[in-house]
């Protein structure tokens, strides 16, 4: 079997999220070095706060200020910090019940080593130097052996100047993508300016590009079949809006092209003919550029148009 292809694939996305009244107050508070919780119907104080009681699902809005000091309720030593985590030196993950709160807040604890951490230890917030209204405004926790600091349990209206109403949560995941056997064969053949599909052993249809399975029969395809290079335009559209980062003059024609011998049409751009002269049945062939991994576009072969009966099943 030829070598299966692999390539890095990075998926990055900034999630822009709006905040409700409770989260807005909490995150704005962090920017101002004030930690707010929310009181439930049965009198417990949740930190971090949520809009709905996790037990009764009742809406809750009653904000209270809790202390920046607290107690570790459980912990885990992270000797190899990973990308994006709060500290880049070894640290402990901790759940901290802040003084005045009844629930735990997850964050990092900066400590010299696992022997310096235990459940029940006292800690306090270390604030980030630059704060924007995000959970990362808490840089981390640090060991603390002083008294519990005031203010705990005071009601708070949750109002600050210039409230934070949204966050942008960037995410990035890294993959090594492999397209599998069938698509690797397709891409490898393209490198030699050939187009290969696979024939279904059951219905005998030839799929291009091959995906390894026949969607009609639900069986694996394996027999490789070279198709094209010539093909027929089965349908098309005229693109009038220029895509970002695409160096093609509009209008241009994007078409479904049934390569000779294929039972599925693939997509391609039609060139070498004015856009308003492209038609169903037009016979085309691929045009390759130097070093290109796929046909740059398809151009008319000059043959007579294909008869509709020949390609109507492929529309």
């Amino acid at each position: 079997m030829p070598e299966v292809l692999k390539a890095p694939l990075v998926v990055e996305f900034p999630f822009t999220r709006s905040l409700g009244p409770v989260q807005s107050a909490f995150l704005t508070g962090l920017r101002e070095r004030v930690v707010l919780g929310v009181r439930t119907g049965d009198g417990r104080t949740l930190v971090p706060p949520v809009e709905y009681d996790p037990v009764t699902a009742e809406e809750i809005r009653d904000l209270v200020e809790v202390a920046p000091t607290g107690t570790v309720t459980t912990w885990a030593w992270n000797h190899e910090p990973r990308r994006g985590q709060p500290l880049d030196t070894p640290f402990a993950w901790v759940l901290v019940r802040l003084d005045g709160a009844d629930t735990g807040l997850l964050h990092a604890l900066d400590a010299p080593g696992p022997d310096a951490v235990h459940t029940g230890m006292r800690v306090r917030i270390r604030w980030a130097g630059e704060r924007s209204g995000a959970i990362t405004d808490i840089a981390c926790f640090e060991p603390y052996d002083g008294d519990p600091s005031e203010p705990t349990g005071q009601g708070h209206d949750g109002r600050f100047e210039d409230m934070v109403t949204g966050i942008v949560a960037p995410a990035r995941l890294d993959y090594v993508y492999s397209p599998g056997r069938a698509q690797s064969a397709y891409i490898n053949a393209l490198a030699e300016q050939r187009t290969v599909g696979e024939r279904c052993p059951s219905c005998r249809k030839v799929y291009v590009p091959p995906r390894g399975a026949c969607p009609t029969c639900g069986v694996a395809t394996s027999e490789q079949v070279e198709v094209g290079p010539g093909g027929t335009v089965t349908t098309y559209c005229i693109v009038n809006i220029k895509a970002k980062n695409l160096d093609i003059e509009v209008p241009y024609v994007y078409a479904h092209i049934a390569l000779d011998g294929a039972d599925l049409a693939l997509h391609g751009r039609i060139g070498g003919i004015p856009y308003d002269q492209v038609r169903m049945g037009l016979r085309v062939e691929p045009v390759w550029t130097e070093g290109g991994r796929y046909p740059e576009h398809y151009r008319p072969t000059g043959e007579p148009d294909a008869d509709y009966e020949m390609y109507k099943e492929l529309l």
Partner: protein, 349 residues
């Protein structure tokens, strides 16, 4: 009178660290054909199809639509997908059969963890305001739970190592498992969890066929009847929960009828050794119950299929006559956030 519904066939891949040579559908097809062959059904005979998987493993949107090529989805079939473990797809299929809309269902789950870093990928299922920006990975969160159990005196590191070695020893008899036999407990990944306390990272798929009433008896000599199935959820925030317990598992088990009579087998979806401690307590499993005779998630953890495999393994033991009443559990989310429990029985012998 509600319909009786049974698992009549189960198949799974050999779970492996990587499967670069296969796309998801290429990995899945042999498993789909295996369950169909066991029952003699063709894809066109299936009344309802439901699958579980996630785009975040593949790094591609709508990745499940490509996998549908494997089930003969043209002409259009009655089909659904859950962005969850296949166990939840089974739950959906079970409700579909209960309505009488279909007599048979094909359920599958699959995941390839090898292309990405599953520890990072799973952070994206966390609350995006307070948790996800800190990137607490799946092992770190499980380690917080493990430490809570140790502090509560419910386990210790040697006991966790015992769970690990028992699971991998059991998996010696499971040719599909990824980690089998003696596996070193290893170094800390996130203390107190060592490599041995964590599941292997790998790729795999599983499929089952469900059938209702007489159809089940036609398709399988000893169907594994689903006597009850239920799923429940904890509060998302870890700091709100008692991490040493799993009330949602207990409630799901109660609603599924698990406590009405003892079970002889329990297939538990516990990717971390410490989670088995929590589940045994929540499910009140005594030492007489055979827990994870397949090796469980510690022996093979194809994310999005591992829970479905628990149901499949439990059912297969009933098919083979090795169990009469089995419990299967599936989980999703950090620290056993969501839990599904099914109770399966064979006909009296």
């Amino acid at each position: 009178m509600t319909r009786e519904i049974a698992v009549v066939a189960f198949a799974q891949t050999d779970h492996r660290r990587t499967s670069d040579e296969h796309s998801e559908v290429e990995m899945l097809i042999p498993v789909l054909h295996d369950v169909l062959d066991q029952t003699g059904l063709k894809t066109s005979d299936i009344g309802f199809t439901c699958s579980g998987s996630t785009d975040y493993l593949a790094g591609r949107a709508f990745s499940f639509t490509m996998a549908l090529d494997g089930v003969g989805a043209w002409p259009p079939i009655s089909e659904s997908h859950v962005e969850m473990d296949g166990a939840w797809a089974l739950y959906e299929a079970w409700t579909k059969l209960l309505t009488g809309d279909a007599d048979t269902a094909l359920v599958y789950g699959y995941g390839k963890s090898s292309p990405g870093s599953v520890r990072d990928v799973l952070t994206r299922q966390l609350d995006p305001y307070y948790l996800a920006p800190l990137w607490p990975d799946s092992v770190a969160l499980a380690a917080l739970q493990a430490q809570a159990l140790i502090d509560a005196g419910e386990t210790d590191e040697p006991a966790l190592a015992g769970v690990a070695s028992r699971s991998r020893a059991s998996a010696s008899a499971n040719s599909h498992a990824q980690l089998r036999g003696s596996v070193a407990q290893g170094d800390y990944v996130v203390r107190p969890l060592r490599t041995g306390d964590c599941p292997p990272i790998g790729d795999g798929a599983a499929a089952v066929i469900l059938a209702a009433g007489e159809r089940a008896r036609e398709l399988c000599e000893r169907p594994a009847w689903i006597r009850g199935i239920d799923h429940r959820i904890e509060a998302h925030s870890l700091g709100v929960r008692d991490l040493t317990d799993s009330p949602s598992t207990r409630l799901a088990a109660e609603r599924a009828g698990a406590f009405e009579r003892p079970v002889d087998t329990a297939e538990l979806h516990a990717p971390f050794t410490s989670q088995e401690v929590v589940l045994r307590k929540s499910l009140r499993l005594g030492d007489e119950v055979s827990v994870n005779p397949s090796g469980g998630a510690l022996a093979a953890n194809p994310v999005m299929a591992t829970g479905l495999i628990r149901i499949g393994e439990a059912a297969a033991r009933i098919h083979r006559g090795e169990s009469d009443r089995a419990l299967a559990h599936a989980t999703s989310g950090p620290c056993l956030q969501q839990n599904l429990v099914a109770v399966l029985e064979g006909d009296a012998r």
